[in-house]
């Protein structure tokens, strides 16, 4: 009888996971992804504040993670007006928070890659000026191990010499530029024995006039050597600045465009 759960908690899990059963429906709207962790996420990460599930918040992701260390995610909340904050979290990851963004003058859209430990919903909660969290999300299936595998960089003896190195290029877009940027950093989760958490915490971008374009906070689950996609105002000149959780700075001037291709 090895399949027969003998602990009350196992029965609870079995019941809650049964489709169509909502014995413990949380306050607020029903989670379209049917995750048993949603209520906890709502209480802990969004402090129980008003939420709506909103299709205008898109989380673009593969249905299956081919590489659990590098799952591509694009969060797009540009269909909402006046976005103040975007909080991305993966609720079945051992570390839930993935990334936060205050768009300021950037489009409410960000691309990045994520480490996942197992199949999980990935959500974007978007706080609009109406004071409500607009939540979108999708589920990625994964064989797992992305959070408890050491970074490739930390096994490579010369990673330290490139720590914080920025590569970035811009492409002209209708009302500004598309920026794609990679920052060299191991982004270790701290879940691997003997390797402490070591990750970029903050990044901000300022335009040529020194005006704040956008602010980002990264957490451990962002993939090693983060590659970010942002849509920004201006012509392509930016200052990138930030630091990791050990106080190492990230600082670079993005001149825009392509080497040999003119600054545009």
């Amino acid at each position: 009888m090895r399949y027969l759960p003998d602990k009350p908690v196992a029965w609870f899990v079995l019941l809650v996971l049964l489709p169509g059963q909502s014995l413990l429906a949380a306050a607020g709207p029903e989670d379209p992804l049917g995750s048993f962790m949603w209520a906890e996420m709502h209480a802990r990460l969004l402090r129980g504040e008003p939420v709506v599930f909103d299709d205008r918040v898109r989380v673009l992701m593969p249905a299956e993670a081919e590489d659990s260390m590098n799952v591509p995610v694009l969060v797009d909340a540009t269909a909402l007006a006046d976005v103040e904050r975007i909080l991305v979290f993966a609720e079945l990851n051992p570390i839930h928070k993935v990334l936060e963004m205050r768009p300021h003058r950037a489009a409410a859209r960000i691309g990045f890659r994520l480490k996942v430990q197992q199949a999980t919903p990935v959500r974007a909660a978007v706080l609009a000026r109406d004071g409500t969290w607009h939540v979108g999300g999708s589920i990625v299936d994964a064989a797992g191990g992305g959070c408890t595998a050491p970074s490739i960089g930390s096994a490579n003896p010369d990673w330290a010499s490139r720590l914080g190195e920025v590569a970035a290029r811009t492409w002209p877009r209708e009302d500004g530029v598309r920026l794609r940027m990679r920052v060299m950093h191991p982004m270790d989760t701290g879940l691997v024995a003997g390797i402490p958490a070591f990750y970029i915490e903050e990044l901000e971008l300022r335009d040529a006039a020194g005006e704040l374009a956008t602010e980002l906070w990264l957490y451990e689950p962002v993939a090693e050597n983060p590659v970010l996609t942002l849509d920004l105002p201006g012509s392509g000149r930016f200052t990138v600045s930030g630091r990791d959780n050990n106080g190492n700075p990230v600082l670079a001037e993005v001149l825009g465009g392509e080497a040999g291709g003119g600054a545009r």
């Binding site: 399949y3 673009l60 590659v227 001037e253 392509e258």
Partner: protein, 319 residues
Amino acid sequence: MNGFRCLPLVLVLLMLSVDAFAVKRDYGLVPQQVAPGTYVLLGFNEHFNFRNGGNIVNTGFIVTDAGVVVIDTGPSRLYGEQMREAIAKVTDQPVVKVFNTHLHPDHFLGNQAFEDLPEAALAGTIEGIRQNGEMFNESLYRLCGPWEAGTRVVVPGLVVTPGVEEVGGHRLRLIGYDGHTDADLAILDETTGVLFAGDLVFHGRAPTTPHADIGRWLASLDALAGLSFSVLVPGHGAVSTNDDPIRQTRDYLVWLRDGLKRGAEQGSDMAELLSPREPPASIRRLAVFAAEYQRSVAHLFPAFERAAIERGRVVQELD
């Protein structure tokens, strides 16, 4: 026992009964003759799943006067055993030698059933199986479940030297290519004109790229197209009497490479490429296209992206 607990109990009993009264798992392997003494066991054009038990691959064998030569052994110990039974129904000749075309698990995890015989592969394949075999075995267990029970990695012990090997009157040309993986063995039976192309060639099914180098793969396809053969056995998909499958594989790889490279050069985010832009109908209708395409984005896009981003202009002082 109250009503509250009743439903889960029914489910649990159901799960137990499925396990306890399971019928013998049968891959239903039926050798198809494609040339004198030459047989292919055709797999489904699907992904690994609990129904097909990993039988998504083509294996083959050649009956010679000096015994049977096996080319690839399938995805599990069970497949290998049932393949050996299927061979015994076709001929009294014993199996004398096994080749593995490359390191992917659907092509070698049946080796266990032929452990008593010489099993041969290219040096790069042997090294790759040694390094990744256990991981492959675990992932197939997760994808195919009970069909994989009792499967153990058996690393081929014999290194293939490219060239002609004569077995029982069949001149087998062993050719070492690469591109689908670091080492891809093709076997041309010059006596019958049958070319076993391994996974260098897919037919009617989207190619897989987890260990691919597209440039080298295309060069290998060009070389294959230059061989003189009358029957082409792809690693996945229907057997052919012309080089259409080679062209189809080439067209797919070129389309895939060009689309991902263009996306990277235009500043697309990786997630923005998960739905392909207007694939031609000939590509869209390949079996498991959408899923394989998404997997290939994960395999191939990062290198194009790196090249594109690193050409940006940045000024930075590093300590």
